[in-house]
């Protein structure tokens, strides 16, 4: 008897947990997706429908007008291209340097505990808030006449992408068995050759994930670009969007279109790196 009631109670409990879990998932999905849907929906509405009260939940009269405004009449295509070039430049520098450093820190010993200390010093540079370095960077780029250039953005972004790439790659290399590289060296390969021909190919998934995270971080960056860039020659997409939110007017249709377009590649990237999200977002500290 006693066991029976116990059994029954735990069963109802389980059904309740299951029910509340499904309810929570549905709620979370709605709350997550509605804002994204909303900006997409508004980007396809005529101005008059954006301002409709009550709001028009589905665009009744869809239009590509705002995409034409933003990407053809106004220089948002240029902004997107700048964002893309800066992101690619930053990613190449960060991944090449970071992979070598990550490998060195995962495999080699250094005198006086340098390994640990350099690792943590590199991480600490990632912790530096960008606002802290805007003044010296501004003066520095001003001095070298590099304000308003894409190379200045690449240099500034590398400062916080490189520590990220180093720690990510370090954590991936630490997961690889060292024996394979040892075998290659025994077979007559150099230490550099063992890295290049053995470790690097094995770390390819990690390499791809690190590169995509670097692309995302650079693509999303706002503050440094706000300081360094002045004209559409170097301004990135987030700056272009912010520029259409003025004191007097907010160009809702245009920024919705540009904002939604800024999100699309990120969503694609998110699915490509979904297996690496935990590691990427914790700088390699938590292995998902």
């Amino acid at each position: 008897m006693a066991t029976k009631t116990l059994y029954r109670r735990s069963r109802t409990g389980e059904v309740l947990t299951r029910l509340s879990a499904y309810l929570a998932i549905v709620m979370a999905l709605i709350l997550t997706l509605f804002p994204i849907y909303w900006i997409a929906a508004n980007s396809f509405k005529f101005d008059i429908d954006i301002f409709a009260v009550p709001p028009e939940w589905l665009p009744r009269n869809p239009t590509l007008k705002h995409y034409e405004e933003a990407f053809i009449q106004r220089p948002f295509l240029r902004y997107a291209l700048n964002s893309f070039l800066v992101a690619v430049g930053t990613t190449i520098v960060s991944v090449v340097f970071g992979t070598m450093a990550g490998y060195a820190l995962a495999r080699f010993n250094y005198p006086w505990q340098w390994r640990k200390q350099i690792s943590f010093w590199i991480l600490s540079t990632r912790m530096m808030p960008p606002i802290v370095s805007i003044i010296p960077l501004y003066l520095f780029f001003n001095y070298f006449d590099m304000l308003n250039t894409k190379s200045a953005l690449v240099i500034a972004y590398t400062a916080f992408n490189l520590p990220f790439a180093t720690w990510m790659m370090k954590s991936y290399f630490q997961d690889l068995p060292v024996e394979l590289e040892e075998a290659a060296v025994v077979d007559g390969d150099t230490r550099w050759g063992a890295f290049l021909h053995v470790a690097l190919p094995l770390a390819r998934p990690g390499l791809a994930a690190t590169a995509i995270f670097c692309l995302i971080i650079s693509w999303n960056e706002f503050l440094l670009s706000l300081i360094i860039t002045l004209t559409e020659q170097s301004q990135t997409l987030p700056i272009g969007i912010a520029g259409r939110v003025t004191q007097y007017n907010t160009y809702w249709g245009e920024i919705s279109a540009a904002g939604f377009m800024a999100c699309v590649p990120i969503v694609i990237f998110a699915f490509i790196v979904q297996k690496h999200l935990v590691r990427g977002l914790s700088l390699g500290a938590v292995k998902g």
């Binding site: 947990t17 509340s20 879990a21 499904y22 998932i25 979370a28 999905l29 804002p35 994204i36 409709a52 009260v53 709001p55 340097f97 450093a101 060195a104 995962a106 080699f108 010993n109 350099i118 991480l123 600490s124 540079t125 912790m127 530096m128 808030p129 606002i131 802290v132 370095s133 805007i134 003044i135 010296p136 501004y138 500034a156 590398t158 400062a159 490189l162 040892e182 007559g188 230490r191 550099w192 706002f222 503050l223 987030p238 969007i241 912010a242 907010t250 809702w252 919705s256 800024a262 999100c263 990120i266 699915f271 979904q274 297996k275 999200l277 914790s282 500290a285 938590v286 292995k287 998902g288």
Partner: protein, 308 residues
């Protein structure tokens, strides 16, 4: 766990090539590290030192005028600058409330959904989208939702028969509005890390506890929470670091207003440096922020050793 590293002595076997190649091979461990270390030295140490130099000067917006040495003057101003105190208080308020809410929601959801969502990678990734999005896109999305005249939120208030609000434009609700947008973007981050932590929990202690008849509440306090501690420490500290540098959301949603209610440190530094054209003083405030960050991140990195 720290994996034992080899000491680079594997190189001795055979060394083809000339002297330079042999030299490079022997010093490989330094050569591979050098580009990163030199780049970061140039991009972080140099600016930091330069900032100390700037912080003890009054710098005129006119580049032809020389810098005027003011010693600790800029730091003394920190003590009496009411705007700085407001910005500091707002930053602390934002950080504490936003990170706490994100943590409670993220951990709660992870505990509730762990068993149901573990294999649903696609669903998990969908829930993770907000934190990957450009903060500027998130900011304009919420600006659209908060819009007092035609925004969705006031429509919901109206349907529920509640008073309409100005949200980001309201003195009392502005900070709340910023926090809600941040919680929307960053709760998934805590959720994701907690799920990863839960997935790595050992099974045996729970079996033993169940045999001993421990309630699920006891199991949570005595087993789950202690096991999760390293992951929690990492998640919280990464969030705190990010919250301290909040800029984009405020810049778009409120511009620091109304009545300075959402003016945070990053925004204030930006205003001092550019709008008030006082880079010397901005450097002094930046050094204060840097100091706080170093203290926090040192603590953080000690925690990292737990899982490294």
């Amino acid at each position: 766990m720290l994996k034992s590293a080899d000491d680079g002595t594997l190189t001795a076997q055979s060394q083809p090539g000339g002297g330079l190649e042999r030299w490079a091979e022997r010093h490989l461990r330094y050569l591979m590290l050098a580009p990163t270390v030199l780049t970061l030295l140039a991009l972080t140490i140099f600016p930091s030192l330069y900032m100390f130099y700037a912080a003890v000067h009054r710098i005129s917006p006119n580049p032809d005028l020389p810098w005027e040495f003011v010693g600790a003057g800029n730091f003394a101003r920190l003590l009496s600058d009411a705007q700085f105190h407001v910005a500091l208080r707002n930053t602390i308020l934002f950080t504490v409330v936003a990170v706490t809410v994100e943590f409670v929601l993220g951990l709660g959801l992870a505990l509730l959904l762990d068993k149901f969502i573990r294999r649903l990678t696609f669903l998990k990734t969908v829930l993770m989208i907000p934190m990957m999005l450009p903060p500027i896109a998130v900011a304009i999305t919420w600006k659209l939702i908060y819009e007092p005249q035609f925004g969705v939120l006031n429509e919901i208030m109206y349907r529920l028969g509640l008073p309409l609000q100005a949200w980001a434009g309201d003195v009392n609700l502005a900070m709340f509005s910023i926090i809600v947008a941040d919680v929307w973007q960053w709760t998934p981050f805590i959720f994701l890390l907690m799920l990863a932590g839960l997935a790595s929990l050992p099974v045996e202690p729970y079996e033993a506890a169940a045999l001993d008849g421990a309630s699920s509440w006891r199991q949570f306090w005595d087993l789950t929470l202690p096991f999760l501690k390293p992951v929690i420490a990492i998640a919280l500290l990464l969030r705190v670091m990010d919250a301290l540098r909040l800029f984009d959301l405020v810049f778009i949603l409120t511009g620091g207003g109304p009545a300075d209610r959402t003016k945070v440190l990053s925004l204030y530094i930006y205003q001092v440096a550019y709008r008030f054209a006082d880079p010397g003083y901005a450097a002094a405030i930046s050094l204060f922020v840097l100091f706080v960050t170093i203290v926090l991140s040192t603590w953080f990195m000690k925690r990292m050793r737990v899982t490294d």
